[in-house]
């Protein structure tokens, strides 16, 4: 019945169905045994990764893949529409979530104890939601999957006590406003087009251009997504949410949520509203790039004033969102390619630094910068990964961060938008300060059992502190992520020419 050919034909469905099934199975089985959760989840993550890789391959060889759910043709049924853009990001998201999942066993058991099954189930549901957002070709369906990803995200973030719950609830409010605005926007689109299929709407809209409702729909959709992606000044929910959540969670949510939302923005703008409308008919381009510039500057400066590693990283995420939004709204090929490339690069970079931060706080039980003391000696490999991640965020070749920055800056120069160029460079310089401040603490100051205790410079021959690395599974996945940063950097030329340019030129001409 289900031959290999049959399986490859159904890859899009498998990508969402398998994690969902695994989430359900984990919830059910966990009442009987705690031990099955981890292997089951990792297996599902692996299958999703393989399926997305297979799908990517398919798209590369045959072009756009369309999968009709329930056998109904669009616009009546829901379709999955996989092109170069989302198949690429699918692979990245699957990879990031798989790596984080694989490395989460020890930390998750310590963190959630008996509720670990629920954690894995929510984790898988969250990934399912992201996959669904990436793969769908239906504007309303995107909302439903968005809510799956958000709801599980709220729960995962709010699990800690006190401020974690508070920031979780804050996230619920902001997230709901964002999602509901998006829903409102889709409603406006539906009012004037009568369709929910993205491609279909995109085909109808050009005939309706004088209508102000399109502009409203555009503003609502974008506004909603901006809240979700935490673009300045709507970023208020993000830093606390990422800071107070357990590290396993923040290293899942931080790399993925904002990036997938940026994908959604790209998708909504290019497929639904079309390039011509978004860049030629209405003049939002310039204000949005300036908003991105502000986001970059504010994010970087706020990161400077943080005393906690995770909060600092969270503000860097805010700045990175500015990179991508700004790059996209530059509206030229280089800028847009840079934004898309940065989605995958930044997902991996953020994963790497957040996982490293998680591994560090797993051992030190603290995420203040002062707790980094002596960590180059105690956890050299973890710090090595952190260094790579930091360099990538700074934008040092040959890590992948350099290459996306390359495109973004050249996009800025091409568009003559030197403010954006300056913001990118300033943020790189600030990132140098941020990361080397951490590295200095970790490198120059000796390990002191209790964090916060001040002591003099390290004796040259202090070998008392021995190496105590993070648990093996955490370490292996972390190092994999770190190495991938370089691999991705080396192959970024290929990715851009073979994949991203397949999407961008068709739309920008």
């Amino acid at each position: 019945m289900a031959s290999l050919e049959g399986v490859t034909q159904h890859l899009p469905a498998i990508i969402v169905a398998v994690p969902l099934l695994a989430a359900l199975a984990v919830t059910a089985l966990w009442w009987f045994s705690n031990k099955l959760c981890y292997p089951l989840s990792v297996g599902a993550g692996l299958i999703a990764l393989a399926a997305s890789a297979g799908l990517f391959q398919q798209v590369l060889s045959y072009g756009v893949v369309e999968y009709r759910l329930g056998g109904w043709p669009p616009p009546w049924g829901i379709v999955f529409r996989v092109d170069h853009l989302n198949s690429l990001i699918l692979v990245a998201v699957a990879l990031v979530s798989f790596l984080n999942l694989a490395g989460s066993r020890v930390a998750a058991e310590k963190e959630f104890q008996e509720k670990v099954g629920a954690f894995y189930a929510l984790y898988l549901l969250f990934t399912t939601g992201l996959f669904g957002i990436l793969i769908t070709g239906d504007a309303f369906n995107l909302y439903v999957l968005l809510e799956i990803a958000s709801l599980t995200g709220y729960a995962l973030i709010g699990i800690g006590s006190g401020r974690a719950s508070l920031s979780g609830l804050n996230y619920v409010f902001m997230g709901t406003i964002g999602a509901t605005l998006y829903l409102f926007g889709v409603g406006c689109l539906y009012v004037i087009t009568g369709s929910l299929n993205m491609v279909d709407i995109g085909a109808i809209l050009p005939n309706l251009w004088p209508s102000k409702v399109i502009v409203l729909a555009f503003l609502l959709c974008l506004g909603g997504l901006f809240v979700k992606m935490a673009l300045f000044p709507l970023h208020g929910w993000l830093p606390n949410a990422y800071t107070y959540s357990p590290s396993v969670v923040s290293s899942l949510v931080a790399p993925l949520t904002t990036k997938v939302m940026i994908y959604a923005m790209v998708r909504v703008t290019l497929t639904i509203f079309t390039f011509d409308f978004a860049f030629n008919k209405i003049s939002l381009q310039v204000p949005l790039v300036w908003l991105a510039v502000l986001a970059i500057i504010v994010g970087s400066l706020m990161a400077l004033s943080q005393q906690r590693l995770k909060k600092m990283l969270a503000f860097i995420v805010v700045a990175e969102v500015g990179y991508m939004v700004g790059g996209f709204w530059l509206g030229n090929r280089a800028g847009m390619s840079g934004a898309v490339l940065h989605i995958i690069n930044d997902a991996l970079m953020t994963l790497c630094v957040f996982m490293a931060a998680g591994a560090l706080s797993f051992r030190t039980g603290d995420d203040r910068l002062t707790s980094l003391k002596g960590m180059f000696r105690k956890m050299p490999l973890t710090m090595g990964a952190m260094v790579l991640g930091g360099l990538s965020l700074i934008g040092v070749p040959p890590t992948c961060g350099f290459f996306s920055k390359w495109y973004l800056i050249s996009g800025g120069i091409e568009a003559g938008h030197y403010g954006f160029v300056a913001a990118l460079i300033i943020s790189s310089l600030v990132n140098i300060v941020l990361f080397f401040r951490c590295f200095e603490i970790a490198y120059f100051e000796p390990f002191s059992g209790s964090a916060g205790h001040q002591s003099g410079p390290m004796e040259p021959d202090d070998r008392s502190s021995t190496v105590v690395e993070a648990p093996a599974d955490m370490l292996i996945t972390l190092l994999t992520a770190a190495v991938l940063l370089i691999v991705l950097g080396i192959f970024s030329g290929q990715i851009v020419t073979r994949v991203i340019h397949q999407v961008i030129p068709a739309l920008t001409g």
């Binding site: 019945m1 289900a2 049959g6 159904h10 469905a13 169905a17 969902l20 099934l21 359900l24 199975a25 919830t27 059910a28 009442w31 999968y67 009709r68 759910l69 329930g70 056998g71 109904w72 616009p75 009546w76 049924g77 829901i78 104890q113 008996e114 509720k115 629920a118 954690f119 189930a121 929510l122 549901l125 399912t128 939601g129 669904g132 239906d138 309303f140 369906n141 439903v144 809510e147 799956i148 709801l151 599980t152 709220y154 729960a155 995962l156 699990i159 719950s165 406006c188 539906y190 009012v191 004037i192 087009t193 009568g194 369709s195 929910l196 109808i204 209508s211 102000k212 409702v213 409203l216």
Partner: protein, 276 residues
């Protein structure tokens, strides 16, 4: 900041108001919304799925994928409430209270004392327990079966009248919640334990998802119920109808269980003791 927000809201409202004049008139049958996609559903649903209630047909078939994830949303909410609230430490409390059913006397058993668990005359209660009213108690006990029956009807009759898995499921869940409110949580838990509700919750979604996956195994696309006709010798149209029924039942089970599950956690603040 707050004032800024309010101004923003007002501006937003004004913007919406100004654009409301551009929207099609209310109830306009010629608006794009009513003429582009939806006529197909109204005219073809009965032929495609033999389900007269177009809403059900769209919900479970044309846009069945949406509904699958709608169920998953509910399930996530149940799981999320459990994850957030449930307190799993099994520390024995200092003292436990028992009520002698026949006399209504309350017994306080100190830690380490012998607990009359196996005896039928005692029932465990909490310190915050409020005596329940006999009239309410009895009325609810009488009403609950009828509500449940009605819920089943709503689920089963979703093809022909308003209703379906969600509505029926919520009503069924509400019946259980009513029982829990009118009696107490512990007694409800003895009938529908937390584990049962969790298992049913995931089971319901698995029924839905499994149907969809079964369709793949039978050679058609995900959630394409027409392929179910291969099994018992149905024609594709009635196969779709049955497929819709199956997933509606799955939705009903899932929603029931999850509503109850959420209630358990919210009402007892995760302790699963007395409830409201």
């Amino acid at each position: 900041m707050k004032r800024l927000g309010l101004i923003a809201i007002m501006v937003f409202g004004g913007l919406l108001f100004s654009i409301s004049f551009e929207l099609p008139d209310l109830g306009d049958a010629r608006s794009p919304a009513s003429t582009h996609v939806s006529p197909y559903y109204i005219e073809q649903a009965i032929h495609d799925t033999s389900v007269p209630n177009v809403v059900t047909a769209i919900l479970a078939d044309y846009r069945g994928y949406d509904t699958l994830f709608e169920t998953a949303v509910i399930f996530s909410a149940g799981l999320a409430c459990f994850f957030l609230l449930r307190i799993t430490d099994r520390k024995a409390p200092k003292a436990r209270f028992y009520r002698h059913l026949a006399t209504g006397l309350t017994l306080r058993v100190e830690k380490g004392g012998r607990l009359p668990e196996d005896t039928k005359e005692f029932e465990r209660i909490d310190s915050a327990w409020v005596p329940s009213d006999v009239i309410i108690n009895m009325t609810c006990r009488l009403v609950v079966p009828f509500i449940q029956l009605f819920a089943l009807y709503v689920i089963a009759h979703g093809h022909h009248s308003p209703g379906g898995g969600f509505q029926g499921g919520v009503i069924f869940g509400a019946a259980i919640i009513l029982y829990a409110i009118s009696n107490n949580l512990r007694r409800t838990l003895r009938r529908t334990s937390e584990r049962t509700s969790a298992l049913l919750g995931s089971g319901g979604v698995i029924i839905y998802l499994g149907t969809g996956l079964l369709c793949i195994l039978l050679g058609a696309g995900f959630l394409n119920y027409s392929s179910l006709s291969l099994v018992p010798g149905l024609d594709p149209v009635s196969a779709r109808s049955y497929g819709i029924l199956i997933v509606e039942i799955g939705v009903g089970i899932a929603v029931t269980a999850v509503m109850v599950w959420i209630y358990y956690n919210l009402a007892s603040a995760g302790k699963l003791d007395e409830g409201l």
